[in-house]
Symmetry: C2
Subunit: 434 residues, 2 copies
């Protein structure tokens, strides 16, 4: 092979910092496979069950026969042929959203996607019409959003998080400031419930105020909700979408944490009305579907059937289907917080502090030394514990002394042992230590 391409002649997204950081993290995890990982934001694996996938596929076939009245040829065509670009489980998703979230949507406004990541891409591709268009995101923020934005050359305007997630004043300022500079901020991306990476949750009062602000500023809200069921106290706040009476919210759904990650099924609810030059009015979902037809054509109906089978098995009550997971993540969070209190007592002079999330997968530790890639490598090699530098999620200088701990994929024993290792790392960084 002689041909050499040069990255300078490839798309700039390939030089994305967050991306290269994530690759570094993966590399470290591979080099130190015995390290306890507080790094990966993956769901717990202990409940995976090979047999269930077969049951789910059969359950969906039964649904096609009995509820849809399909004959065997139609069942096979639905599962195995090219299919509807917007997906084949939209009606079940709409049923689930009504039951679990109180979100009432026309199934036609649902676009089933290859994970939530594709849904993000579709929305950003649609909204990035010219070089003025930008998207707002909280800082710190999920790297998947900035990655998708990079692919369509769309600037991400960072808005520093407030105590409960969104700081409304800063958001308004950012929008008006961007407009004054000739930009068109089209949408604001956020995870209102137990955000990644900060674990913050937007209060009910601020949800209403945010919806009002979006209306006033003519802004869409991109609500990403992978963790909403995993509140530690059993209380749930209504999603923005369920409160949205003015079509301001595009809801980005994921079954990776509540269904099965290996199905790679997500979706967008995009019931916004779109007018074409000819005066025809359609749904934003149909515009996203056009983009999807050029990107992945359609989402594997077999993969969709697995998620649909799980939904049907639980009468579309996905919150109920996640009872074990909800309890496990709650117990893990408590264990982690108790361990942090033990290892880093408030008056112990360690200089370590953390936030106390009300649920989700993540908490953020602030430490009195830089938590960078170099330290991560030392942590993995010398102490056997992995975490994620917060600098991956934010350009804020404060993030340089912060790290994200994920407690979703570990056992309680690993939490205890991992925190001991982390404490040893912190001790080794104290002034005066060797």
């Amino acid at each position: 092979m002689e041909t050499l391409l040069h990255t300078s002649a490839l798309h700039a997204s390939l030089e994305d910092d967050a991306l290269n950081s994530m690759n570094f993290l993966n590399e470290i995890a591979q080099r130190f496979p015995d390290a306890i990982s507080f790094a990966a934001g993956r769901p717990y694996e202990g409940f995976f069950d090979s047999g269930l996938v077969h049951d789910y596929l059969r359950r969906f076939e039964q649904y096609l026969r009995e509820e849809k009245g399909y004959d065997e040829a139609q069942v096979r065509r639905t599962l195995f042929q090219y299919g509807r670009t917007k997906g084949i489980v939209h009606e079940l998703i709409a049923r689930h959203l009504e039951l679990d979230e109180g979100i009432i949507v026309d199934p036609e406004s649902v676009v089933v996607t290859v994970g939530c990541q594709e849904a993000m891409f579709l929305v950003l591709r649609a909204l990035r019409a010219d070089e003025r268009d930008a998207v707002l995101a909280m800082s710190p923020s999920y790297v998947g959003l900035s990655g998708a934005a990079r692919l369509v050359d769309m600037p991400v305007l960072e808005v520093a998080e407030g105590p409960d997630g969104v700081d409304l004043d800063r958001l308004e300022e950012a929008v008006l400031g961007a407009r004054a500079r000739g930009m068109r901020p089209r949408a604001c991306y956020l995870v209102p419930d137990f955000s990644n990476p900060s674990g913050s949750q937007l209060s009910l009062a601020n949800r209403h105020l945010l919806l009002d602000l979006a209306e006033r500023l003519d802004l869409l809200l991109l609500e990403d909700n992978p963790y909403g069921y995993f509140g530690a106290d059993g209380e749930r706040l209504p999603t923005l979408k369920s409160l949205d009476t003015r079509g301001r919210v595009v809801y980005l759904g994921s079954f990776a944490k509540t269904g099965l990650p290996g199905a790679r099924i997500g979706y967008a609810v995009a019931d916004q009305r779109v007018a074409t030059a000819t005066g025809r009015v359609g749904l934003l979902a149909d515009e996203l579907s056009k983009i999807k037809s050029m990107l992945t054509v359609n989402t594997s109906p077999i993969a969709q059937a697995v998620i649909a089978g799980k939904l049907l098995t639980h009468d579309c009550n996905l919150y109920g289907a996640n009872e074990r997971e909800i309890a496990l993540y709650r117990d893990n969070l408590r264990r982690l917080l108790a361990g942090l209190e033990r290892h880093f007592p408030r008056d112990g002079g360690s200089g370590v502090s953390w936030n106390v999330p009300r649920g989700g997968f993540f908490t953020v530790l602030t430490v009195p030394f830089p938590a960078d890639d170099a330290l991560l490598e030392i942590s993995a090699r010398d102490h056997g514990v992995l975490w994620t530098p917060m600098s991956y999620f934010s350009s804020d200088p404060a993030a340089a002394h912060q790290l994200r701990l994920s407690y979703s994929q570990v056992t309680v024993e690993q939490i205890d042992q991992g925190l001991e290792r982390l404490a040893a790392l912190v001790t080794s960084r104290q002034p005066g230590s060797a």
Copy 2:
């Protein structure tokens, strides 16, 4: 819902002609469900079998246990957790390529994708670094390529097909002309075997010449090969990739026609070497993988397992696994050609002519009247037969009098009856008919 977006403020790809044409075609097909369809380029459905999917999944699990030595937890993690961005069936794909195509590749250069469409997008996104970058494609050409190009705002330079597919002189002219205009033609997309829509096949001599030309012009070749197994005479020509000794070919693979469309599994073989600014040299596959991580994260391992199970069931000999399909498409082509001879004898004055493809899914009919959307609607409504206007695939004026007939998804009875209906349509268009 009050919010109104306007397509003028959405991305220009949404106004793509080919896309809107395809939507029109789908709409017509839905409005006239009893029409016989020579329009859809879908694989034959008669061999779909629900039970096989379960067998395939179990076969892949067995492979993970026995060949990879995985324990049960690793098996479940591989199938159900987030996974490797480049995919989990790359080794089996490499084994299949060696056996079936004589293509020897490092499995690390394989990126498993959500259908071949995602593979196209990844390559074009990587190659569209700035506004000079363009891709060449034959005219007529598959609309999926122009769709993916639209999503990254990449111009498609059309090169009129020669008798066997690629006209090398015109290709060179197009590249040099584009360079003279300040453009950077990065790659040429083509389907060497039984192209969509024209059914053309590139001769062996021209395959060698094309590879030489690509080397001389410093051009990549994007070889898309969904139909290569479906030669009507049992002879197969070597793929460009198998002849490529200089890293000129990115191979775009699809299992939609040879595996199962509903798995939505495709792949790119991208073994080109890429140098970064820091001097590190990697594989183009790894750059594509980075883009994929921002687009769909990874391809559903469950869907990959279905295809892997089929490969394993047939010892990775996919050509052999498609014996029934190869025979069926061959018989359908013969039946179609015989029917055309019967209905439109050469000296019968109908003014209808067609090409005689050596395999694949498609043939092209030239008719003495415009074969446009208006005629398609008349054809569906008054005559009960569907086809695809060639103007969807080419801006060449000659295409306005051509239509594509697909014979892959029809029975022989439908071919006979469909041609009768088509003949009635042609008769109704003859001068002097009512």
